[in-house]
């Protein structure tokens, strides 16, 4: 139970940090922020790995397997999508004049 109270302390403090860190994000970065924080909660993969490792019955194995799969989708997909969005913010317009049809990052949207 002392463990629980300790975790509760961590939880409350982390909530304050979350508010503080985010309150300064300009609105133009809201989409990448949503996507980036979405990737961060993909860290649930760590929890999924733990339950998968200690799974005993077939039910636990199946549920664990699905959990690891879904969590991997979240963490990998989340960071890749966010990176793709942010890649576009990198280009400074004056640094290199871009022809209008210049493709973005690889992918079908670059047509």
């Amino acid at each position: 139970m002392t463990g629980f109270v300790w975790y509760l302390t961590v939880f409350v403090l982390a909530a304050f940090v979350g508010f503080e860190v985010i309150s300064k994000v300009p609105s133009i970065l809201h989409t990448p922020l949503m996507s980036g924080s979405n990737a961060i909660h993909g860290i649930v993969l760590v929890g999924a790995l733990v339950i998968m490792g200690e799974a005993t019955g077939p039910a636990q194995v199946v549920l664990g397997f699905i959990a690891v799969f879904l969590a991997t989708l979240n963490v990998v997909g989340g960071f890749v999508v966010t990176d793709r969005m942010l890649e576009m913010f990198r280009a400074k317009p004056d640094a290199r004049p871009a022809p209008p049809e210049r493709g973005g990052p690889p992918g079908p949207e670059a047509r």
Partner: protein
């Protein structure tokens, strides 16, 4: 020095693992902080990815993860499958489909968190001990929030992908049914907590999936971005709850960071729409609109449409042109050609800038991402509050695929469901030019009286196509 290494060597591996988790937590905070400026955002995201990679890698040092070769290999297979699916999906998704993609990745995260919680409970039972009450409480919370997020994200995805009606879906007895389901969850949760039996927790799981669906159905298309932001926050909390169940501080902190930041972002977004969060969630916004809007005096008036050549001349001889982009710009992939038009006009000495509504497109900042892709300079992107004072002196407001965000009903029609939402005051410009695919109303499903205004002309067609014709027309002037 040797004393330090001795101490270090004497520490158990689990202590080292916790220390590395702490490093990862710092990485996540840096990641969120990096997103505060376009300059550091990408580095921030990479820091987050590195932190996640580090934490995942060190997790394999735990005996509980590796002791069963079969489980370990299954875990590796599941990870490989996940990566094989996620990377191409994330790489190839069109910029227009980003919001759906975020909804999907968010939903699966919620599902994973729910499964972690319930499986941990099963595991504790299978070891022959009965879990402490607070462990069951945490697991139930993780299952509940995770499943609502999973099912809600699935419906949000279907709405954004237009696999189903984007309008709010309402039916008789909706609120009572929702209340009954919520009550059922509460009862099952209490039974699960009191008896410690996992059967009840599975009941919570199923009913939470139902709740996720029926909770999202009445939320209209225009509000889906706010919804996704909220579900993102939910998933964070579900991950934190599963962290409590497992006694893992990394999951608690990372989940809570996302939960808190997501709540804040959700509030900012609903504020940008001039509405309260409960109003967005429970008012079935836009459901009853068609009847009122069509009855409301739009009859008898006809829209004026024009040709690209005429509009090209209008633009070329304007002094100030304000471009108001919306989702239609994204659909048509017209961000490059709109920049071409803007550059051409600037070269003629026309003052051009973009007026960005905070919820233009389907996610906040959606337009900024698209226009950044086309290398539009930041200083040409003006936020609503900055742009609105300029509009009365603008010669032309060029509305490219936007609708609800310029609908004056938000200002002058108290009965309208979008009444009170701040808008871009395109109606104050000397001329308003709408590029539209059809007369279909916007995502909110509301007719727009501005289309029928005397100052307004319409150019029908695909936005990219029309813009290309405008570019040719301006070049020919």
């Amino acid at each position: 020095m040797s004393a330090v290494t001795e101490v270090a060597a004497s520490l158990p591996l689990s202590t080292w693992r916790s220390a590395i988790y702490l490093v990862a937590i710092v990485g996540f905070v840096i990641a969120l902080k990096g997103l505060s400026s376009p300059k550091h955002a990408r580095r921030g995201n990479l820091a987050g990815a590195a932190a996640a990679l580090l934490a995942i890698a060190i997790t394999f040092s735990a005996g509980s993860v590796t002791h069963s070769v079969r489980n370990l290999s299954l875990a590796l297979v599941a990870m490989a499958l996940g990566a094989v699916v996620a990377v191409p999906a994330a790489r190839m998704v069109k910029m227009t489909a980003m919001p759906q993609m975020v909804a999907v990745f968010n939903g699966v995260g919620g599902g994973a968190a729910a499964l972690v919680s319930v499986t941990e409970l099963l595991h504790v039972h299978s070891t022959g001990t009965s879990p402490a009450t607070y462990v069951v409480v945490e697991a139930v919370l993780g299952v509940l929030i995770g499943c609502v997020s999973f099912a809600g994200s699935a419906v949000a995805f279907a709405k954004l992908q237009e696999l189903m009606a984007t309008r709010p879906i309402v039916y008789a007895g909706q609120q009572p049914i929702n209340a009954v389901v919520a009550l059922g969850i509460l009862v099952l949760a209490l039974l699960g907590i009191v008896t410690g039996a996992t059967g009840y927790v599975f009941g919570v799981l199923v009913l939470s999936l139902v709740l996720g669906v029926i909770f999202v159905l009445p939320i209209g298309g225009a509000d889906v971005p706010v919804l996704i932001s909220m579900l993102n926050s939910f998933t964070g909390l579900a991950v934190a709850a599963s962290g409590f169940t497992l006694g893992n501080s990394l999951l608690i902190v990372a989940g809570t960071l996302v939960g808190a930041s997501g709540m804040l972002l959700t509030r900012l977004m609903s504020k940008a729409m001039g509405r309260s969060l409960p109003n967005i969630l429970f008012s079935a916004f836009g459901a009853v609109v068609t009847a009122t809007a069509t009855a409301e005096g739009l009859d008898g008036k006809a829209v004026k449409s024009s040709t690209p050549d005429d509009i090209g001349v209008l633009l070329a001889y304007a002094r100030k042109v304000v471009i108001v982009p919306g989702y239609g710009l994204a659909v048509a992939q017209a961000q490059h050609v709109v920049k071409e038009l803007a550059d051409l006009l600037s070269a003629r000495g026309v003052e051009v800038f973009y007026a960005i509504h905070p919820v233009a497109g389907r996610m906040p900042g959606h337009m900024n991402v698209l226009l950044a892709e086309a290398n539009v300079p930041y200083d040409e992107l003006k936020e609503m509050d900055e742009a609105n004072p300029e509009l009365p002196t603008a010669d032309v407001a060029l509305v490219v695929g936007a609708n609800d965000t310029v609908n004056p009903a938000a200002v002058d029609t108290p009965g309208s469901p979008i009444y009170g939402m701040p808008i871009i005051h395109a109606d104050q410009a000397q001329h308003i030019v709408f590029l539209k695919r059809s007369m279909r109303p916007g995502f909110a499903g509301i007719d727009n009286a501005l289309l029928f205004d005397d100052k307004t002309v319409l150019l029908f067609g695909d936005a990219k196509d029309t813009l290309q014709k405008l570019v040719a027309a301006v070049a020919a002037v």
